[in-house]
Structure formats: C-alpha cells, structure tokens
Symmetry: C2
Subunit: 148 residues, 2 copies
C-alpha cells in the first residue's frame, strides 16, 4: 500500500537560509519550489535519493506565509524541526480509506493538492504515535489537480 | 556524500505497541530488532523501501531502556514523535569530517555502533535547523564493529 518514504517535512523560519544550509552542508539541490496558499507555506523539495518503486525521497522545507498557518503554529510551539513524514503510494484515496478503516483519523475528507502536483491526505498525529503523517500520490502516479 | 535517507527515528514508550501499530496500519514488517545498551534503547527497524544507492530506507522505532537515556529525556520533554533523521553514506568518517569543516558540530569524536552493525555519528541539532541529524554507514558499506 505504502511503497516509499516520499519526504520528511521540516519547518523553518527562513526558507532561503534553510536551502542554503542543506546545499552548503550536504550538497542537496532544490528540485522544486512553490507556494501553497491553502496550507500557508512556501516550500522547497530537495531530492535525496531515488526509490525502488520508481519514485524518490525528498526533504521538504516549509516556511509559513502567514501567522495562522499550521506550520506557523508548529514553529511557535516547537521551534524549527521535523514537522511531518510522508509515505508514498500509488493510490492515495484507497490508502486513506484502508488506514481510516483501521482506526486512524484521516484529516482530509478527500485528497488535496500537495507539492509538485501530488495528491495528499494527512493523518491525525494522535492516532500515529505522535507523528504527523501524510500519504502522498505523486503526479506521475496519477496525482495532480486534474484528478482531484 | 550523502546518498539516501537511511531512516527516520521515532521515539515511543512501548516498542511492541508501536511495531503492532505500523504493521496493522500500513503493513510494515520488522527487518531487525536489537538493544543498544550504550544509547539506552530497544529498537526495531521497519524497512519501507529500497534506495538507488543499493541501500534502503527504514523507520527506526526507539523505546528507552533507562530513564537517563537521550530518548527517555526526549519523551519526557516532547512525548512520542520523530526523534531524528539519518542520512546514509558510504564513508561516515569522511562525511563527518566534511560536515564538521562546514561549521556543524559533530557530537561523536569517532563513529560508533548503530543499528544493524552500522557506524554512525550524530550532528548537533542546533547547527541543523532544529533537526537532530545522524550520518550512517551501513554494515555492507564497510560499517560494523570490526572497523570501528
């Protein structure tokens, strides 16, 4: 059902500074950058490796664009650090239904738009051992706004 | 230098319950389980996917074995959740030296024993945007106690 760690989401106060840190320190490069107004974040995807399901694993750096966004609230409470982990799947709607049937609250009633035209749902961290967990279907796995 | 996300370390209060959650909810299976007395943890590695450097990405579930271990202190402060992320490398000593030369404090003066006979160092989270970061060389990349 879930075939890779798609990304680790990291909350930061200054996206450009975080990008510079990861490039300078480890040599990771930005594969994609976008603003997600719905989630109130400016974000960058740094590709770390390819995965054996034909996808890839990224670091996702997240800077809030407004004070009432979930990432801004996370930063106010916890400071910078890991915000969530995301598992990749070829069928996010099906995976959400399966996981929901196993007693985990799915926070999105239907998949919504994520990074790089993916489709995503979030799971309730209290049902996932304190880990804010995302399920993601990449655009080349049938994701994208067109389907949503 | 760093060629994969090797694992995401997750602190939990009850390893068996966490293993059961990840198996029941997502179908992830335990690839390896061990006690690391030095770090004061009982841990399980759940393999999620293979990576294009010939390695794999795991979830690492960590239960403290004593109250003064770093993971016990993390749980007391933050509760359950993501504890650290680990990047895989073919040369952990070389990577630690490079990263140290770029102004990041390396917490271990020499690589020490990690999961599955890997060799690891930790980096200071304050130098890594709030992310406790580990560098890991797998046993089949020349890791293992024999070299250490």
């Amino acid at each position: 059902m879930l075939t890779r760690i798609d990304h680790v989401g990291i909350a930061c106060v200054d996206l450009d500074a975080s990008i510079a840190f990861y490039r300078r320190t480890y040599g990771f490069e930005v594969a994609h950058e976008e603003v997600n107004e719905e989630q109130g974040v400016r974000e960058a995807m740094l590709r770390v490796n390819g995965t054996d399901d034909g996808g890839a694993t990224y670091l996702q750096l997240l800077e809030p664009t407004r004070d009432d966004s979930p990432v801004a609230k996370f930063l106010a409470r916890h400071g910078e650090g890991v915000h969530h982990i995301a598992f990749g799947t070829a069928d996010v709607a099906g995976a959400a239904e399966e996981v929901g049937g196993r007693g985990v609250r799915v926070l999105d009633p239907a998949p919504r738009h994520g990074s790089m035209d993916s489709r995503i749902v979030f799971l309730h961290p209290k049902d996932c051992g304190g880990v804010l967990t995302e399920l993601v279907q990449a655009a080349d796995q049938g994701g994208g706004r067109g389907e949503g």
